[in-house]
Amino acid sequence: MSTSMKWLRFAAAAGAMAVASSAAFAQEKELVFGLHCDRTGATQTVGVFLCPGYHDYISLVNSKGGVEGYKVRVLEIDNEYKVPPAMEAHERFKKEGAVLTSLYGTPHTMALTKKLEEDKILGTAPGFGTAAAADGKRFPYVFPIAASYWSQAAGAIAFIKKELGDLKGKKIGYLYYDNPAGKEPLVIFEDLAKSEGFELRTFAVPAPGVEMGAQVLDITGRFKPDFVVTHLFGRSPSVSVKELKGKGYPLSKVISFVWGASEADIKAAGGYELANGYNTIQFAGVGPDFQVIKDINAMYQAQGKGVPSAQEVSVFYNRGVVIAALHVEAARNAVKAKGGAKPSSEDVRRGMESIKGFTLGGMVPPMEVTPQDHEGGGWVQVWTVKDGKLTKNGDWFQAYRSVIQKHLAAVN
C-alpha cells in the first residue's frame, strides 16, 4: 500500500470518528446550554473565575445523573468582550439547539435582546444589562435573575440607612464608571435623595477608570460625604479602595456594587488588612462554606484532582455556580412540566419563570421569578471585609421595591 493510500485511510478513519462523535453528541437525552464568556477580553478578570464555576456545577449535576435524566452539554464561546463574536456565538448556540443561553456583558445583552426574542431562546443577564429587563412583559426573553443596578442602588441606600440611622441631611457620594452601566442607577439615587432627604453628589470616572485621584480628592477634601457608593469595573475598584484609603477616608463608609466586590479587587488594592471595613453588595453567597461547593470539591477529589483553582476568587466562582444552578433549575422545571419529555426553549423559559424557593443552602437569594418579574425580587446581601476575609453582614434583603416598580412602569 502506498504512503498516500495510508494517509487517505487515516483521514477517512479520522473523518468517520469525527462524524460518529458528533452524532453521539446529538443524542436525545441531552440539553444544550449556551454560555457566553469572556476569558481573554477586557473583563477577563471576571470570566476566568466565573465560567469554571458554571462548568463545575454542570459537571456535578451530570455526575449525579443529569437534570431529570437529561445530560447537560455546555457550549461555551469566548467573546473577548466584543459584540460581533457574541452574535456569532448566539447563532452557533441556535444551530446546536441550545434551550437557554447565559449572556455576558452589557453591550452584548443589548445587542442580543432582539435576536433572543426572534429566536425564542432565553438569555440570562445577572448583574449587568439593562435594569428595565426585569419587566418580563416588555423583555420576555431576557432574565436578569439577580439584582439589577437599580435594585443594587436601592440596596446600597437601605444599607446606608441602617448604618447611619437616619438619612435626613446626610451626604452621600456616588463614584461611578462613566458608561451606560455606571449611569443607570442615577435615577434611583436621585429619587431616593428626594424621598429620604439626603444630599447626593456624583463623581464620574472616565474610561479606563484607573485614574481617579481628582475625583477622590473632591470626595474626601471638599464634599466630605457620610457615605460613598462606588460602581466600578475591571481594575478600577481596587484603585478606588487604594485612593480612598490613601486620602484617609474610612472604608467602612464605602459600599461597592457587585462588580467591585471580589477577593481579587481587595488583593489588588493591597490586601484584606488595608481594605478592612470595605462593604460589598453581592447577588450570590461568598466563600467555600456551602454544601454545593463541598460537593464539587468532593467530585474532583473522587476523580483524583485537586480543588479547582478558580475557587480562590469565590465571589465570581460562586456566581458562576449560582447562574448554572438557576439554569439547571429552569430546565428541571421544564422537564417536570412536560412530564419527562424533552423541553423546548419555550418550555425552559416557562421553567425559568416558575423558579421559586430555590436557595442552594443560602447561596442563592430567596428569589421568585415570575412572568412579570424576571429579576426575581432584586435580593442583595452585603459582605464586609473583616478579619482577613469577606464576612456576611446581615441576611438577604430587598429594598425600596415600590420605587423600583415605579421606575420600571415609567420605562414603558
Binding site: C51, I77, P85, E88, A111, N179
Partner: protein, 355 residues
Amino acid sequence: MLHRESGVFKTSYAADMALYPLPIARWTVAAFIVLFAVILPLALHDYYLSIINLSLIAVVGALGLNILVGYTGQISVGHAAFMSVGAYTAANLAVRFDLPFWITLPAGGLMAALIGAIVGIPSLRIKGLYLAIATLAGQLIIEWVINHTPAISGGAQASIQVPRPALMGHQIRTQGQLYFFLLFFAALAIVATLNLVRSRIGRAFVAIRDQDIAAEIIGINIYRYKLLAFAISSFYAGVCGVLYTYYLGIANYEQFQIGVSIDYLAMIIIGGLGSVLGSILGAVFVTMLPIMIRLIMEPLAGLFFTAGELSSVVASTRLVLFGALIIFFLVVEPEGLNRLWRNIRNYFRTWPFSY
C-alpha cells in the same frame, strides 16, 4: 483575476483602465455573483451565513478606512466613532420619524461624512502620528458626546432599539434575508470603490499619499481632496454603522469604541493598504479566522480535555494562534494578503514554462 492574459493586447487607454482587463473576466465575475447570490445561501446553514454577514459588514468598513489610510495616506484611529455617528443618525431617524432604511442608510452615511470631514480638518496641517492622535481625540470626543447627550443616545443606557428593515412590506430578519440585504450593500461598496480609485478623485488621493507637495504642484487642491478623503471614508464608516445597527436591531455606542477602530486598522494592514481586494481579504481574515480556529480546535482539543477545561484551552490557544498567524502572514508578505495573492498569481502566470 484568475486568468492568464497571453494573447490579449490593449490598444487604448480605456481598455487599459477597464474594470475587466480581460474579456474572460466577465465570466469569472458572473461566476462569483452566482456563487454568492445563489449557491452559498442555498448551500449554507444560517449559522455560517451569520458569519459571512459579519464579514460583509466589516468589508464595507474596511473599504472606507482603506480609502483614507491606504489610498490617501492619512492615518485615522477614529473609524469606529464615525460608525457610531451613522448608527445613531439612522436609529434616531428610524425610531422618531419612522423612516425606512433606504432613507436612514444614506442619511447615516452623510452625517458621518460631515462629522468625518470636520474631524479631518487637522489633516490639513499635520501628518502621520500627529494626525493619528488628532483623530484619536475625535474618537474620544464623539464617544463622550454620544454617551452624555440623551437627545442623541436615547437615555442613560445610550442605546436605541431599531425596527428590522423592511422591503416592500416584508421584514428582513432571518440570517438568510439579512445576508442578501448586506450582500447588496457590500457589493455596492466594492463596485463603488473600484470605480472611485480609478477616477480623477482616486488618482488625486494616490498622488497626495505618494508626495503631497508634488501633488499640489501638479494642480491638485490637497486641502479639498484630503477633506474629501475623510468625508468619503467616513461615509463608508457611517453606512457600515447603519448596517450593523440594522443587523443587531440596536444602536449602542459601546459597540463602537476605540478597540473597534484598531480592529479595522488591523484588517486593512493585514489585507494590504491601498487595495480593494486587500480590504476584503483583511476584513474576512480578521472576522472569520478566530471562528475558524475555534471550529477546528474544538473537536481536536475535545479528545484531550473535559468540557470545562476545553473552553479555557480553546479561548487562550485561539488568541495565541490568531496572533501568530497575523505575524506569520505579515512576515511572509509585509504588504498584506493582497500582495501575497498577486505573488501567487504572478508565479503561475508563466507556469509551467517560467524561464
